[in-house]
């Protein structure tokens, strides 16, 4: 009798457990994973002037036959097209380059800030932390927009520099790659500082003291002790900046110029201006393939960090 009850409650628990798992799982399968399958399918289609603007459309009313009929018309033409027109290859390469350079600059700007925060008196640290997080809550679009008025030819930065007599003619910054770098560094700085701070803050300062007591110069102690110990933060921060920056749209669109080639913008133009959904899908699939390696590495690192905790 006893055993029966416990096995019953066990199976009920198991059912509950699966129900619990399935709710978010099913949602993500339907609205996160399934859309990628569809993107892939449409990337194999052909653009037509119709609604929806591609063919073939699978006729599910015919069941499997409809699927087979559509599948026979799929082709890799869009992918071949991507390799033939140099603009796509250039856009991918230049996105990776811009994202990489911007990530390095963000690290160089973010590290001293995170280091200063970790060194600050304990009582200030929550406030400093909140000051770093606060801009992250403020709209991305607004923060990018704020830079337009500063970087314009007749903008505040040029007015300021001319007033100081540093320059005579206004610098052209807006609508160049320099503005894109500033935009990415500014927008993603909190993503870099937070993981850096959390790994620096946990660090035991007696390690540095030990190094210095043993005659290690401060600079060398920094390179040999602080940097290696904050490596998890550096890695997490770089992933958090680099991956979204590669596909960034708003920053190159608002701050970049005609020389700025970024794949997120190319995708947007293909989709909204050219209304070429299949090519836009192919662009997305290739972008995803490029990013899948860093994304998987990032996820691994996050899980490892969680386990270490």
């Amino acid at each position: 009798m006893d055993r029966e009850v416990s096995s019953q409650s066990y199976s009920k628990n198991r059912l509950g457990r699966w129900a619990l798992i399935m709710v978010p799982y099913a949602w993500l399968l339907l609205f996160f994973l399934a859309p990628f399958v569809i993107v892939f399918k449409i990337s194999l289609s052909e653009v037509v002037v119709a609604i929806p603007p591609y063919k073939p459309v699978i006729d599910w009313a015919q069941g499997l036959a409809g699927f087979v009929e559509a599948a026979q018309q799929w082709s890799l033409d869009n992918y071949i097209w991507l390799t033939e027109d140099a603009i796509y290859l250039n856009a991918y390469l230049s996105s990776l380059q811009i994202a990489f350079i911007a990530t390095v600059i963000t690290l160089l700007v973010g590290y001293p800030i995170a280091y200063g925060m970790a060194r600050a008196p304990k009582a200030w640290q929550p406030t400093l932390l909140m000051l770093i997080i606060l801009p992250f809550w403020t709209s991305f679009l607004i923060r990018v927009y704020a830079w337009i008025g500063i970087l314009k030819n007749e903008g505040l930065l040029n007015q300021f520099l001319m007033m100081l007599g540093i320059i005579d003619d206004p610098l052209v910054i807006l609508n160049t790659n320099a503005a894109v770098y500033i935009g990415i560094v500014y927008s993603y700085l909190p993503f870099m500082v937070l993981p850096l701070y959390s790994s620096l803050e946990k660090m035991d300062s007696s390690l540095i003291e030990a190094a210095e007591d043993l005659g290690c110069p401060p600079m060398q102690a920094f390179w040999k002790v602080t940097i290696p110990l904050s490596l998890p933060g550096i890695i997490a921060g770089c992933f958090l900046v680099f991956i979204p920056a590669v596909g960034e749209f708003v920053i190159p669109d608002l701050l970049g110029g005609s020389e700025t080639l970024m794949i997120g913008k190319t995708l947007w133009v293909e989709f909204f201006s050219n209304r070429d959904w299949p090519v836009a899908s192919a662009v997305a699939v290739v972008l995803l393939l490029i990013l899948v390696i860093p994304i998987v590495l990032f996820q691994r690192q996050q899980e490892k960090q969680k386990e270490a905790q």
Binding site: G16, R17, L20, I21, P24, Y25, W27, L28, F31, F32, L33, A34, P35, I38, V39, P52, G110, Y115, G116, R119, L131, I133, W137, T138, S139, L141, I142, R143, Y145, A146, G149, I150, K152, E154, Y186, L189, M203, D204, S205, L240, I243, P244, G247, E248, F249, V250, L254, G264, L267, A280, S281, A284, L287, L291, I295, V296, F298, Q299, E303, K306
Partner: protein, 275 residues
């Protein structure tokens, strides 16, 4: 790293870093009170751009749509994200766990253009009319992942033996969750809701892809105006949004701080009473 005094280098980098983060926003706010239409020339103090906003019905409509989408998607995302966090933190290994955690972490870094495009193509394939509901579903999907991460870190930090004790005493799992677990992780859940809400409030790219006729959100409206140039009205609406978010975040952090102080005091009282 606390007992070392911060050096001049530390202080300078903090001052410069925070100036860099805040100066653009401060300038934006100041110029929203500029009487001149030229955004880079100061023409005296004025609140006329705020007044003209109040009569801009398109802007107000967009704000209302954005608010409704934000509240519904944040609420749904909080429910789904909290469940997902419970699954990740409490359910151990199960078939398909790697895929599940992958689907939780990937949207955090996935470029928005990809998320937007893929969801739109799903809605098209399902022959779904696009508008309020499709944006709401899209926002729920990526916001729930942020909620899951925030709540999960809260779950990792609290004592599991409380849950186990309740269950050992015969409390059913669902009741254990609502009476033991939820009160403990409530600050995380609340932070998750706020994060989901602001993510929805901010989003331009995903909303642009998944929208349909009649559903224009505030960021979409701002974006279409920004493309025409910088105007004081946009500065005004941006200032309002910045003010709402700032007040919200600071209030939330003060409340959670007070609760923490209260809890610590209660704990000390409880310990003192034992002796």
């Amino acid at each position: 790293m606390e007992h070392r005094k911060p050096s001049w280098f530390n202080i300078t980098s903090l001052v410069l870093g925070f100036s860099f983060l805040y100066l653009p926003i401060v300038i934006l706010v100041i110029y929203s009170f500029n009487a001149s239409r030229l955004v880079t020339v100061w023409g005296g103090f004025s609140t006329k751009w705020y007044v003209s906003l109040l009569s801009n019905e398109q802007m107000l409509d967009a704000a209302w749509v954005t608010l409704r989408i934000g509240v519904t998607s944040a609420t749904l995302a909080t429910v789904l994200g909290t469940i997902a966090a419970m699954v990740l933190a409490r359910q151990g290994r199960f078939f398909g766990r790697t895929l599940f955690s992958g689907m939780i972490y990937a949207p955090l870094v996935m470029p928005e253009v990809i998320l937007g495009l893929s969801l739109l193509l799903l809605f098209v394939s399902l022959d779904q009319a696009r508008g309020f509901w499709t944006i709401m579903i899209a926002h729920t999907t990526f916001a729930m992942c942020y909620v899951a991460v925030v709540v999960q870190s809260r779950l990792a930090g609290f004592d599991r033996s409380l849950e186990e004790a309740a269950m050992d005493l015969g409390c059913p799992p669902v009741k254990t969750f609502f009476t033991i677990t939820l009160p403990q992780i409530l600050p995380g859940v609340a932070a998750g809701w706020m994060l989901a809400f602001t993510l929805s409030l901010d989003d331009l790219v995903i909303a642009s892809f998944t929208t349909g006729p009649g559903a224009t959100t505030l960021p979409m409206k701002i974006y279409s105006q920004v493309r025409l140039g910088v105007t004081p009205e946009i500065n005004a609406i941006c200032t309002i949004l910045v003010a709402i978010v700032t007040v919200g975040v600071i209030t939330a952090s003060l409340i959670s701080k007070r609760q923490q102080v209260q809890r610590e005091r209660d704990e000390r009282m409880a310990i003192a009473n034992q002796y």
